[in-house]
Protein backbone atom coordinates (compact mmCIF):
# COMPACT_ATOMS: atom_id res chain seq x y z
CA UNK A 1 0.00 0.00 0.00
CA UNK A 2 1.02 3.55 -0.51
CA UNK A 3 0.33 4.72 3.03
CA UNK A 4 2.88 3.14 5.35
CA UNK A 5 2.07 5.39 8.33
CA UNK A 6 -1.64 4.61 8.04
CA UNK A 7 -0.91 0.91 7.78
CA UNK A 8 1.27 0.97 10.87
CA UNK A 9 -1.41 2.82 12.82
CA UNK A 10 -4.03 0.34 11.61
CA UNK A 11 -1.92 -2.62 12.76
CA UNK A 12 -1.32 -0.97 16.12
CA UNK A 13 -5.02 -0.27 16.64
CA UNK A 14 -5.98 -3.75 15.46
CA UNK A 15 -3.67 -5.43 17.97
CA UNK A 16 -4.64 -3.00 20.71
CA UNK A 17 -8.34 -3.66 20.18
CA UNK A 18 -7.64 -7.40 20.06
CA UNK A 19 -5.88 -7.34 23.43
CA UNK A 20 -8.61 -5.23 25.05
CA UNK A 21 -11.43 -7.46 23.80
CA UNK A 22 -9.72 -10.74 24.66
CA UNK A 23 -8.73 -9.49 28.10
CA UNK A 24 -12.25 -8.16 28.74
CA UNK A 25 -13.80 -11.52 27.84
CA UNK A 26 -11.82 -13.83 30.11
CA UNK A 27 -13.21 -13.08 33.57
CA UNK A 28 -16.76 -12.95 32.19
CA UNK A 29 -16.36 -16.31 30.45
CA UNK A 30 -15.25 -17.84 33.74
CA UNK A 31 -18.14 -16.31 35.72
CA UNK A 32 -21.29 -16.00 33.59
CA UNK A 33 -23.58 -15.82 36.63
CA UNK A 34 -21.61 -12.97 38.16
CA UNK A 35 -21.59 -11.16 34.80
CA UNK A 36 -25.38 -11.65 34.57
CA UNK A 37 -25.67 -9.96 37.95
CA UNK A 38 -23.48 -7.08 36.71
CA UNK A 39 -25.75 -6.67 33.66
CA UNK A 40 -28.75 -6.81 35.98
CA UNK A 41 -27.41 -3.84 37.95
CA UNK A 42 -27.91 -1.65 34.87
CA UNK A 43 -31.65 -2.39 35.15
CA UNK A 44 -32.04 -2.28 31.37
CA UNK A 45 -32.94 -5.87 30.51
CA UNK A 46 -35.37 -8.40 31.98
CA UNK A 47 -33.61 -11.21 33.87
CA UNK A 48 -33.90 -13.75 31.11
CA UNK A 49 -32.32 -11.50 28.48
CA UNK A 50 -29.58 -10.44 30.92
CA UNK A 51 -28.76 -14.11 31.47
CA UNK A 52 -28.71 -14.83 27.73
CA UNK A 53 -26.50 -11.82 27.09
CA UNK A 54 -24.17 -12.88 29.92
CA UNK A 55 -23.75 -16.29 28.31
CA UNK A 56 -23.07 -15.01 24.80
CA UNK A 57 -21.50 -11.53 24.95
CA UNK A 58 -18.16 -12.63 26.49
CA UNK A 59 -17.67 -15.19 23.73
CA UNK A 60 -18.50 -12.57 21.12
CA UNK A 61 -15.83 -10.36 22.64
CA UNK A 62 -13.36 -13.23 22.56
CA UNK A 63 -14.29 -14.12 18.96
CA UNK A 64 -13.87 -10.54 17.79
CA UNK A 65 -10.61 -10.25 19.70
CA UNK A 66 -9.20 -13.39 18.08
CA UNK A 67 -10.34 -12.31 14.60
CA UNK A 68 -8.63 -8.96 15.12
CA UNK A 69 -5.50 -10.64 16.44
CA UNK A 70 -5.31 -13.02 13.46
CA UNK A 71 -6.36 -10.33 10.96
CA UNK A 72 -9.24 -12.51 9.72
CA UNK A 73 -12.73 -11.38 8.83
CA UNK A 74 -11.75 -7.84 9.74
CA UNK A 75 -14.89 -6.18 8.38
CA UNK A 76 -17.17 -8.42 10.43
CA UNK A 77 -15.03 -8.26 13.55
CA UNK A 78 -14.63 -4.47 13.51
CA UNK A 79 -18.33 -4.02 12.73
CA UNK A 80 -19.26 -6.12 15.77
CA UNK A 81 -16.61 -4.46 17.94
CA UNK A 82 -17.96 -1.02 17.02
CA UNK A 83 -21.52 -2.22 17.64
CA UNK A 84 -20.62 -3.63 21.07
CA UNK A 85 -18.85 -0.43 22.06
CA UNK A 86 -21.86 1.60 20.96
CA UNK A 87 -24.06 -0.57 23.21
CA UNK A 88 -21.61 -0.21 26.12
CA UNK A 89 -21.58 3.57 25.66
CA UNK A 90 -25.38 3.72 25.67
CA UNK A 91 -25.58 1.48 28.75
CA UNK A 92 -23.02 3.49 30.71
CA UNK A 93 -24.54 6.81 29.63
CA UNK A 94 -28.01 5.81 30.78
CA UNK A 95 -26.56 4.43 34.03
CA UNK A 96 -24.81 7.74 34.70
CA UNK A 97 -27.90 9.71 33.72
CA UNK A 98 -29.98 7.67 36.18
CA UNK A 99 -27.37 8.21 38.88
CA UNK A 100 -26.66 4.49 39.30
CA UNK A 101 -23.54 3.78 41.33
CA UNK A 102 -22.79 0.29 40.05
CA UNK A 103 -19.73 -1.70 39.10
CA UNK A 104 -19.08 -1.44 35.39
CA UNK A 105 -18.83 -5.14 34.56
CA UNK A 106 -16.38 -4.06 31.86
CA UNK A 107 -13.24 -6.01 32.64
CA UNK A 108 -14.06 -7.74 35.91
CA UNK A 109 -17.29 -9.28 37.15
CA UNK A 110 -16.50 -8.74 40.82
CA UNK A 111 -18.27 -5.98 42.73
CA UNK A 112 -14.83 -4.61 43.60
CA UNK A 113 -14.28 -3.89 39.89
CA UNK A 114 -14.27 -0.35 38.62
CA UNK A 115 -17.48 1.67 38.83
CA UNK A 116 -19.27 3.11 35.84
CA UNK A 117 -17.98 6.58 35.21
CA UNK A 118 -16.89 9.14 32.67
CA UNK A 119 -13.45 7.47 32.32
CA UNK A 120 -15.05 4.25 31.16
CA UNK A 121 -17.20 6.25 28.77
CA UNK A 122 -14.17 7.94 27.21
CA UNK A 123 -12.32 4.61 26.92
CA UNK A 124 -15.29 3.13 25.08
CA UNK A 125 -15.44 6.17 22.79
CA UNK A 126 -11.79 5.71 21.84
CA UNK A 127 -12.38 2.00 21.18
CA UNK A 128 -15.46 2.86 19.11
CA UNK A 129 -13.49 5.33 16.98
CA UNK A 130 -10.67 2.81 16.48
CA UNK A 131 -13.07 0.02 15.51
CA UNK A 132 -15.02 2.34 13.24
CA UNK A 133 -11.91 3.52 11.42
CA UNK A 134 -10.65 -0.06 10.98
CA UNK A 135 -14.08 -1.04 9.65
CA UNK A 136 -13.99 1.71 7.05
CA UNK A 137 -10.51 0.56 5.94
CA UNK A 138 -11.68 -3.06 5.80
CA UNK A 139 -14.64 -2.36 3.52
CA UNK A 140 -12.61 0.08 1.38
CA UNK A 141 -10.17 -2.72 0.48
CA UNK A 142 -12.45 -5.73 0.34
CA UNK A 143 -10.60 -8.97 0.80
CA UNK A 144 -13.31 -11.25 2.12
CA UNK A 145 -11.43 -13.98 3.98
CA UNK A 146 -14.17 -16.30 5.04
CA UNK A 147 -17.42 -14.75 3.93
Amino acid sequence: MSDPAGNRLATLLRLGLAVVFIYASLDKIAHPAAFAAAIGHYQLLPGFLAALLAAILPWLELGCGLALLLNRGMAGATLLAAGMNLVFILAITTALARGLDISCGCFSTSDAGSRVGVTRLLEDLVLLLAAGWLYLRAIAAPRPDFA
Binding site: P32, G63, P144
Partner: protein, 169 residues
Protein backbone atom coordinates in the same frame (compact mmCIF):
# COMPACT_ATOMS: atom_id res chain seq x y z
CA UNK B 1 -26.40 -3.91 0.54
CA UNK B 2 -25.33 -0.32 0.78
CA UNK B 3 -21.87 1.05 0.27
CA UNK B 4 -21.28 1.41 4.01
CA UNK B 5 -22.64 -1.99 4.91
CA UNK B 6 -21.66 -4.43 2.14
CA UNK B 7 -23.33 -7.83 2.25
CA UNK B 8 -20.04 -9.67 2.70
CA UNK B 9 -19.12 -7.63 5.78
CA UNK B 10 -22.54 -8.32 7.24
CA UNK B 11 -22.11 -12.03 6.51
CA UNK B 12 -18.79 -12.05 8.35
CA UNK B 13 -20.37 -10.35 11.33
CA UNK B 14 -23.33 -12.76 11.40
CA UNK B 15 -21.01 -15.76 11.13
CA UNK B 16 -18.95 -14.51 14.09
CA UNK B 17 -22.12 -13.78 16.04
CA UNK B 18 -23.50 -17.26 15.35
CA UNK B 19 -20.24 -18.99 16.30
CA UNK B 20 -19.91 -16.95 19.52
CA UNK B 21 -23.57 -17.50 20.41
CA UNK B 22 -23.41 -21.27 20.00
CA UNK B 23 -20.09 -21.52 21.86
CA UNK B 24 -21.45 -19.34 24.63
CA UNK B 25 -24.60 -21.43 25.10
CA UNK B 26 -22.67 -24.71 25.14
CA UNK B 27 -19.97 -23.35 27.46
CA UNK B 28 -22.54 -21.87 29.84
CA UNK B 29 -24.33 -25.22 29.93
CA UNK B 30 -21.10 -27.02 30.84
CA UNK B 31 -19.90 -24.39 33.33
CA UNK B 32 -20.92 -25.23 36.92
CA UNK B 33 -21.10 -21.52 37.74
CA UNK B 34 -23.07 -20.85 34.58
CA UNK B 35 -26.15 -18.66 34.56
CA UNK B 36 -29.66 -20.14 34.58
CA UNK B 37 -31.23 -19.52 31.17
CA UNK B 38 -34.85 -20.03 32.17
CA UNK B 39 -37.41 -17.24 32.04
CA UNK B 40 -38.32 -15.92 35.49
CA UNK B 41 -41.81 -17.36 35.06
CA UNK B 42 -40.44 -20.88 34.93
CA UNK B 43 -38.34 -20.24 38.03
CA UNK B 44 -41.36 -19.00 39.95
CA UNK B 45 -43.40 -22.04 38.88
CA UNK B 46 -40.41 -24.09 39.99
CA UNK B 47 -40.37 -22.63 43.50
CA UNK B 48 -44.09 -23.29 43.93
CA UNK B 49 -43.57 -26.93 42.99
CA UNK B 50 -40.54 -27.08 45.28
CA UNK B 51 -42.60 -25.78 48.23
CA UNK B 52 -45.59 -28.00 47.59
CA UNK B 53 -43.82 -31.25 46.84
CA UNK B 54 -44.11 -33.89 49.51
CA UNK B 55 -42.33 -32.80 52.65
CA UNK B 56 -39.96 -35.52 53.68
CA UNK B 57 -38.85 -35.80 57.28
CA UNK B 58 -35.53 -34.26 56.40
CA UNK B 59 -34.20 -30.88 55.30
CA UNK B 60 -34.77 -30.00 51.67
CA UNK B 61 -31.90 -28.83 49.47
CA UNK B 62 -32.48 -25.37 48.02
CA UNK B 63 -30.64 -23.63 45.19
CA UNK B 64 -29.54 -20.00 45.21
CA UNK B 65 -32.23 -19.03 42.68
CA UNK B 66 -34.94 -20.72 44.74
CA UNK B 67 -33.59 -19.14 47.91
CA UNK B 68 -33.71 -15.68 46.37
CA UNK B 69 -37.33 -16.16 45.34
CA UNK B 70 -38.23 -17.18 48.90
CA UNK B 71 -36.28 -14.25 50.38
CA UNK B 72 -37.98 -11.90 47.92
CA UNK B 73 -41.36 -12.81 49.43
CA UNK B 74 -39.98 -12.90 52.97
CA UNK B 75 -40.91 -16.56 53.10
CA UNK B 76 -37.55 -17.71 54.44
CA UNK B 77 -35.36 -17.12 57.48
CA UNK B 78 -31.66 -17.76 57.02
CA UNK B 79 -29.85 -19.61 59.80
CA UNK B 80 -26.05 -19.48 59.98
CA UNK B 81 -24.86 -22.83 61.35
CA UNK B 82 -21.22 -21.77 61.74
CA UNK B 83 -19.55 -20.45 64.86
CA UNK B 84 -20.42 -17.02 66.27
CA UNK B 85 -17.00 -15.68 65.27
CA UNK B 86 -17.40 -16.77 61.68
CA UNK B 87 -20.87 -15.22 61.65
CA UNK B 88 -19.48 -11.90 62.87
CA UNK B 89 -16.78 -11.94 60.19
CA UNK B 90 -19.46 -12.06 57.48
CA UNK B 91 -22.84 -13.69 56.91
CA UNK B 92 -25.75 -13.68 54.47
CA UNK B 93 -27.82 -10.50 54.89
CA UNK B 94 -30.64 -10.98 57.38
CA UNK B 95 -29.29 -14.29 58.66
CA UNK B 96 -29.58 -15.28 62.30
CA UNK B 97 -26.62 -16.91 64.03
CA UNK B 98 -27.46 -20.41 65.29
CA UNK B 99 -24.14 -22.24 65.75
CA UNK B 100 -24.60 -25.99 65.51
CA UNK B 101 -21.79 -26.46 68.03
CA UNK B 102 -23.97 -24.69 70.64
CA UNK B 103 -27.19 -26.52 69.65
CA UNK B 104 -28.04 -27.66 73.18
CA UNK B 105 -27.49 -24.18 74.58
CA UNK B 106 -29.67 -22.50 71.95
CA UNK B 107 -33.03 -24.11 72.77
CA UNK B 108 -34.65 -20.86 73.89
CA UNK B 109 -33.80 -19.27 70.55
CA UNK B 110 -34.77 -22.38 68.59
CA UNK B 111 -38.24 -22.49 70.13
CA UNK B 112 -38.84 -18.91 69.02
CA UNK B 113 -38.15 -19.65 65.35
CA UNK B 114 -41.17 -19.26 63.08
CA UNK B 115 -43.04 -22.32 61.79
CA UNK B 116 -44.67 -20.49 58.89
CA UNK B 117 -41.44 -19.55 57.12
CA UNK B 118 -38.77 -21.75 55.58
CA UNK B 119 -35.77 -22.13 57.87
CA UNK B 120 -32.84 -22.16 55.48
CA UNK B 121 -29.61 -23.42 57.04
CA UNK B 122 -26.24 -22.72 55.52
CA UNK B 123 -22.54 -22.90 56.36
CA UNK B 124 -19.36 -22.28 54.34
CA UNK B 125 -20.53 -24.22 51.28
CA UNK B 126 -18.40 -26.61 49.28
CA UNK B 127 -19.42 -29.72 51.22
CA UNK B 128 -19.61 -28.26 54.73
CA UNK B 129 -21.82 -30.36 57.01
CA UNK B 130 -22.91 -27.99 59.80
CA UNK B 131 -25.99 -26.87 57.88
CA UNK B 132 -27.10 -30.46 57.25
CA UNK B 133 -26.73 -31.31 60.95
CA UNK B 134 -28.58 -28.17 62.01
CA UNK B 135 -31.37 -28.93 59.53
CA UNK B 136 -31.79 -32.45 60.87
CA UNK B 137 -31.96 -31.16 64.45
CA UNK B 138 -34.63 -28.63 63.48
CA UNK B 139 -36.71 -31.33 61.79
CA UNK B 140 -36.29 -33.44 64.93
CA UNK B 141 -37.53 -30.46 66.97
CA UNK B 142 -40.78 -30.49 65.00
CA UNK B 143 -40.15 -27.89 62.27
CA UNK B 144 -41.74 -28.87 58.95
CA UNK B 145 -40.30 -26.19 56.66
CA UNK B 146 -36.56 -26.77 56.86
CA UNK B 147 -34.16 -26.35 53.94
CA UNK B 148 -30.40 -26.48 53.47
CA UNK B 149 -28.67 -24.04 51.14
CA UNK B 150 -25.61 -26.10 50.19
CA UNK B 151 -24.01 -23.31 48.13
CA UNK B 152 -23.44 -21.50 51.40
CA UNK B 153 -21.15 -18.54 51.93
CA UNK B 154 -18.91 -19.63 49.09
CA UNK B 155 -21.54 -19.41 46.34
CA UNK B 156 -23.35 -16.40 47.81
CA UNK B 157 -20.31 -14.15 48.02
CA UNK B 158 -19.45 -14.75 44.38
CA UNK B 159 -22.56 -12.76 43.50
CA UNK B 160 -23.58 -10.71 46.52
CA UNK B 161 -21.89 -8.94 49.40
CA UNK B 162 -21.96 -10.44 52.88
CA UNK B 163 -23.29 -8.55 55.88
CA UNK B 164 -20.92 -7.90 58.76
CA UNK B 165 -22.94 -6.33 61.57
CA UNK B 166 -25.19 -8.19 63.97
CA UNK B 167 -28.31 -9.73 62.46
CA UNK B 168 -31.33 -7.60 61.58
CA UNK B 169 -33.63 -9.89 63.50
Amino acid sequence: MSRWLPAWALRQALLLLLAAGLTGLVANHLNPSGVALRPAGAAIAGIAAWEESERAEQPRPISLAQLQLLLGREAALLLDARSRDEYRAGHLPGAVSLPYENWNAEMAQVDQLPHDRWLVCYCDGGGCELSEHLGLELVGRGFKKVAVYRGGIEEWQQLHPLAQEASHE
